[in-house]
């Protein structure tokens, strides 16, 4: 069961506003696997997550999650870069918003449990504006984890955080999703280090329209919140390799700010 394909995309293309954004992407993720999607700015990473969440329909190709076309719902959860908490709901009510399918008692027990997991038990009755950015993002993570999704989609969730909070959140994510029955994760980032810390596999995307230009298995031992992979042998090489690929793509992309007219 763990090795079964959970998420698959076959020949998926997407056009937005007349411009191709995603170009014939194929990929498959096993149940419980963490895929990290790395790619230049504006290449179509968020659009890819929207497709997988069932928020957008592809123009061509086929997407299946657990064997069926994706529909938004409790089996799939999404974490966004800007935390997207409802400012008129308390922390507790924000998390409960993701649990409409549970009865009152079960819902409140679940909310208490996930808030304790992210270390915000004491802030259950606070308003979002009373929390720091890192705390708001932990609420967003709690909201995503609360329905115990099988598929967790994360769109640069830690990009707006300071360097320290970001490291702590990465460790927290590894701890919360790393256990035996953890969800399948698709994680989008701009950060090569973050990709290598979290991923079972890194997918490198081209500039828009996004294609997969490389798939890189990342085999550092787990649990990684205990063994920091950045000290593992091979980390520096993988890091340099990914950076070289990204840099080469960006400087040869005529739409990029860093375009060097094909000289490299």
């Amino acid at each position: 069961m763990r090795d079964a394909v959970h998420l698959s995309l076959a020949g998926v293309s997407l056009t937005l506003g007349g411009r191709p954004v995603i170009d014939r992407i194929d990929l498959a993720a096993r149940r419980g696997e963490t895929l990290v999607v790395l790619g230049p700015s504006g290449c179509g990473k968020t659009s890819l997550l929207r497709l997988i969440a069932g928020l957008l329909a592809p123009d061509a190709g086929r997407i299946t999650v657990a064997g069926a076309a994706p529909v938004p719902g409790v089996a799939t959860a999404m974490v966004f870069q800007s935390y997207r908490l409802l400012p008129w709901k308390t922390v507790r009510a924000n998390v409960a918003f993701a649990l409409p399918h549970l009865g009152e008692r079960e819902r409140s027990a679940r909310v208490d449990r996930v808030l304790a997991q992210v270390g915000l038990g004491r802030f259950a009755d606070a308003w979002p504006r009373e929390l720091s950015g890192g705390m708001q993002q932990r609420v967003a993570l709690a909201r995503a984890l609360a329905p115990e999704p099988e598929l967790l989609l994360m769109d640069e969730p830690f990009a707006a955080l300071d360097a320290q909070s970001r490291e702590l959140m990465q460790a927290e994510l590894l701890r919360l999703t790393g256990g035996g029955a953890g969800p399948t994760v698709v994680f989008v980032t701009h950060s090569v280090d973050e990709a290598l810390v979290l991923a079972d596999r890194v997918l490198l995307l081209s500039p828009r329209p996004a294609r997969i230009v490389e798939e890189l298995p990342v085999t550092f031992p787990r649990p990684r919140w205990q063994h920091d992979p950045r000290e593992a042998p091979g980390f520096a090489e993988l890091r340099r390799h990914l950076w070289d690929r990204l840099r080469a793509m960006v400087v040869s992309d005529p739409n990029s700010d860093f375009y060097r007219g094909g000289e490299s």
Binding site: L55, F80, S82, R84, L86, W88, R129, L131
Partner: protein, 267 residues
């Protein structure tokens, strides 16, 4: 959204206990000034054309004691609250519908704007032909005045919904109704309250207009009666009662708004 890393505990907010007293004092001071100007004006005016504050107060006390004002107040409040209440419900529902379903909004908004710009008094003869001179006609006149700003504000508020929050809600599997109730309407609340406040004011004006133009009744009827008899003290006492209704309504709305928007904090 503020990114500062204040480690503020839940429900820990600056006390606002100091503010209300000076505000109340300022308001009372201004009221004293108005009364003074009124009193001076009443002294300067030829006898019988205007009444002093004291005469108005005595007239008001008399109206209240003799019970002459209560039936009129009851009639006016019935018309006012029924018409305005119907306008709030209908206006928010229609505005939300126009905002949530693009084609409905595009189809209707030009007509709503057009109707909002037409003086509603123009419809009174038509309303009388259709509904006669009774309660229904009055309630409809109040309703038509109050509903337009409520529709337009609800429409604007729903269209101003944060698309990021709507997408977040969609991603949890929420259907339209749930998104409306938990995301769109709470976000539109400041617009809704503004619309209701304007609507409630126009509703009160139209209550008096309706009472003057259809079967004369209520506080508007008393205005017509005392005005035609040059009983200026009684006339102004009725005006004071109308103003008090207006103040009670807007203050009530302000309190409700503060309670519903407490998530925004005191800024």
């Amino acid at each position: 959204m503020a990114e500062d890393a204040r480690a503020v505990g839940p429900r820990q907010r600056a006390s606002t206990g100091a503010a209300p007293l000076p505000v109340a004092a300022l308001r009372l001071g201004f009221l004293a000034l108005v009364l003074l100007v009124w009193w001076l004006a009443a002294r300067a005016a030829p006898a019988g054309l205007f009444a002093s504050p004291a005469a108005v107060a005595r007239a008001l006390a008399r109206l209240l004691a003799e019970g002459r004002i209560w039936p009129a107040l009851g009639q006016s409040l019935t018309v006012y609250l029924a018409g305005t209440g119907a306008a709030v419900v209908t206006g928010i529902a229609l505005g939300a519908l126009m905002g949530m379903i693009r084609p409905v909004g595009q189809m209707l908004d030009i007509y709503v704007h057009g109707l909002a710009a037409t003086p509603r008094v123009a419809f009174i003869p038509l309303i009388i032909v259709l509904l006669g001179l009774g309660f229904e006609a009055k309630i409809l006149i109040v309703f038509l005045g109050a509903v337009m700003p409520i529709v337009l504000n609800a429409y604007a508020g729903v269209r101003a919904a944060d698309p990021d929050l709507v997408e977040m809600a969609r991603a949890t599997g929420a259907a339209r109704g749930r998104i409306l109730a938990h995301v769109v309407l709470p976000g539109a609340l400041p617009y809704l309250v503004a619309g209701v406040r304007i609507g409630a004011t126009i509703g009160l004006i139209n209550t008096v207009v309706a009472e003057l133009y259809t079967a004369v009744s209520g506080l508007g009827g008393l205005l017509a009666l005392y005005g035609s008899r040059f009983q200026m003290a009684e006339y102004l006492a009725v005006v004071v009662v109308l103003a008090a209704i207006g103040v009670a309504m807007t203050e009530g709305l302000r309190l409700a708004e503060r309670r519903m928007l407490r998530w925004r904090g005191s800024d």
